[in-house]
């Protein structure tokens, strides 16, 4: 039988039982729609987490010294004092994949402006820090490397600090504040950045030249960590390797020895943060797929009923020359039509439901082309898989018995 005729025959017989066809299809529709919606929610939440991670900066690598130990007692991570500015310089000179680098020290400081005071972290960094972290100056200016060399007492403050020391919407550039009793001139303010993925307020900071904080405030000679940005996302692993090699050589460690520092990349952080949402997506999609599977069983059930009910028709078709293959194809195409049409409607419904979820619950959703294709392929596979057995049963009927069937 020609494919065209097969399609016509399948459509005719599906039309004969509109209600039954629709109810069978409903199983697939609901299954596909829920798969689409669940994947959209999963993808959406993953994306929003990734977007938050990217507020950390672009292509970031963070290098911490390992924990120090004295007499077998290990201290907290980053407590080692082996990392120095020489390491920073070595990386700047010898790591081609590294674009920006800054040493970082962090101190806690009591800030005072007149009768207002506030306690927060004071970071000592190079101006490149702003490039690495994608921080933007809102008003005033950034300090320079000259300020760093001369340990100038200048600082740049975040919005939360401004609010607490100067009140809302104030522009404190040019004013002086005291940090741990040392007067600092405010030369700039940072644009609001909001919370990061871990709920920390990224605006509650004071940033000052590296040497100012290291020498004047903390009086130390080592650095606490380094922030590095790779030239591109693809170069993050290369940068990580280069830094490992350079630092190991610098610290007189053989290639097989454990490094005395840890490198964490943005990818690591993102992976850790999205792992939960990934698991949740898989879980939701699995539950939705089960409903799709149940829909498939519905197809099989109805097709089996249909074959029994239409035994006579099969006999008639065989008597006028239908081969087993023609009968098989006819029933298989009917099953496939139910599942494909159901898949199509299900995808539309899934998209609508996802949009409703986005609008009503304001959850982040993201419908991917892959999830649509996957649902479609899955739906047709179910049609073929669950349609096969009934179709084969029909094809194997003996025409004489089928004609005589009441």
């Amino acid at each position: 039988m020609k494919i065209k005729n097969l399609l016509i025959a399948a459509i005719r017989s599906l039309k004969k039982n509109k209600m039954r066809t629709f109810l069978t299809m409903l199983g697939i529709i609901i299954g596909v729609a829920s798969v689409i919606a669940m994947l959209a929610i999963g993808q959406g939440s993953k994306q929003s987490i990734q977007a938050q991670i990217s507020t950390l900066g672009t292509n970031i690598l963070i290098i911490y010294p390992q924990a120090s130990s004295s007499g077998g007692v290990r201290m907290e991570a980053g407590s080692s004092q082996k990392m120095t500015l020489e390491d920073v310089n070595a990386i700047t000179e010898r790591c081609p994949s590294v674009e920006y680098i800054t040493p970082q020290v962090r101190s806690s400081g009591q800030l005072v402006n007149g009768n207002m005071n506030w306690r927060t972290s004071v970071y000592g960094v190079y101006p490149d820090y702003f490039e690495i972290r994608n921080l933007k100056i809102m008003s005033g200016n950034l300090f320079t490397m000259t300020d760093d060399r001369s340990s100038t007492k200048v600082c740049i403050i975040g919005q939360t600090v401004i609010t607490n020391l100067f009140g809302d919407y104030a522009d404190p550039v040019g004013n002086y504040i005291r940090i741990n009793k040392i007067p600092f001139k405010i030369i700039g303010t940072i644009e609001k950045k909001g919370q990061n993925a871990f709920g920390q307020d990224q605006d509650d900071v004071v940033i000052a030249p590296f040497s100012t904080v290291q020498k004047r405030m903390m009086a130390i000679t080592h650095i606490q960590s380094m922030l590095v940005s790779a030239r591109s996302e693809a170069l993050i692993p290369a940068a990580s390797q280069e830094i490992t090699d350079v630092l190991k050589a610098k610290h007189n460690l053989g290639p097989s020895e454990e490094p005395d520092f840890t490198i964490r990349t943005q990818t690591d952080i993102a992976e850790a943060a999205t792992a939960t949402s990934g698991i949740l997506t898989v879980l939701l999609a699995t539950i939705a797929s089960i409903s799709l599977l149940v829909g498939g069983i519905g197809i099989m059930n109805i097709m089996l009923v249909s074959v029994t009910e239409r035994t006579r028709e099969i006999g008639i078709r065989m008597s006028v020359g239908a081969r087993g293959r023609d009968v098989l194809l006819q029933f298989l195409i009917e099953a496939l039509m139910i599942s494909l049409l159901g898949g199509f409607i299900g995808i539309s419904l899934g998209v609508i439901v996802s949009q409703l979820i986005a609008n009503i619950l304001s959850w982040p959703v993201n419908i991917t082309v892959q999830s649509i294709l996957m649902s479609f392929v899955f739906a047709s596979a179910i049609g073929i898989f669950f349609g096969w057995y009934p179709a084969r049963k029909a094809a194997r009927l003996n025409p004489i018995d089928a004609l005589r069937y009441e």
Binding site: R312, E313, I316, M318, S319, V320, A322, G324
Partner: protein, 265 residues
């Protein structure tokens, strides 16, 4: 003159050709432990243009024989030549193709597809023939419906047709693939006298056009319209007779008193 002679000779040649030829046909069904001998060695020829009635009581083997020559079943032993093709050794698919190209079936219970128009029912055999275009399919089906006088009912559904009309649709369906033989299994079994006459009239008309028809029946009245009778008993042919002057269904129908349907008046 010379030419006409030749034509007549050709015609005669065609007439005398056996389109169905069975030799010592045996069919044994295995029902569990028991062997059922449905056919015990049938030999017969059916000529082109024949109008044959196969008679016999139920269980005589006439239906088995019919299934056999209709290529629905294969014999246990013996040879069956349909239009010079040996059917006995063909595969299921090849049998299906033969049924599609060379056989037309008419059943007692009409066996039309429900909720499918008369035209679509008639088109059914052509649907399984890959060589036929949609247009040709439609034209041939309309012609076949016209041949049974139902051209105006083409788009009616079976439940909108009377029994006689349904059987005529079935005959149109059996005609549409231009078969070498039409096999009719008790075609008037579900019809009243008048519509039976109509149906037999159509068969006679088709036979006059040269179509070979085989009717299976246990009704001597129906058989009386055919040219030849073969009677089965216990899987054997016990009698084969030529009918000298078959009854004419059309004439009898015309002679029948017209029923006055008072309800309509």
């Amino acid at each position: 003159m010379h030419r006409k002679c030749k034509e007549v000779a050709g015609e005669e040649d065609k007439m005398s050709k056996a389109i169905i030829s069975v030799i010592d046909l045996v069919k044994i069904y295995q029902m569990g432990e028991v062997e059922v001998h449905a056919l015990r060695g049938i030999s017969a020829d059916i000529m082109n243009g024949d109008f044959l009635a196969i008679m016999g009581k139920s269980g005589s083997g006439k239906s088995t024989f019919m299934n056999m020559i209709g290529c629905l079943d294969v014999p246990t032993r013996g040879q069956y030549l349909l239009d010079e093709v040996d059917v006995s050794s063909l595969s299921k698919d090849q049998l299906a193709n033969l049924r599609n190209n060379k056989i037309g079936f008419v059943f007692q219970s009409f066996n039309l597809l429900s909720r499918t128009t008369a035209l679509e029912n008639v088109e059914l055999p052509l649907m399984y023939n890959r060589k036929i275009s949609s247009k040709e399919m439609r034209d041939r089906s309309l012609n076949a419906l016209d041949a049974v006088g139902l051209a105006d009912r083409a788009h009616h559904f079976p439940n909108q047709l009377s029994g006689g009309e349904q059987q005529r649709v079935a005959i149109a369906r059996s005609l549409v693939n231009d078969p070498v033989v039409i096999l009719a299994d008790e075609p008037t079994g579900n019809l009243d006298t008048r519509t039976s006459l109509e149906v037999m009239g159509i068969f006679q008309k088709l036979n006059q056009k040269g179509i070979t028809i085989v009717i299976v029946t246990h009704d001597a009245d129906v058989a009386a319209f055919t040219k030849r009778h073969i009677t089965f008993r216990d899987g054997r042919i016990i009698r084969a007779i030529e009918v000298n002057k078959p009854r004419n269904a059309m004439e009898e129908l015309a002679a029948m008193p017209v029923m006055v349907e008072e309800d309509d008046a």
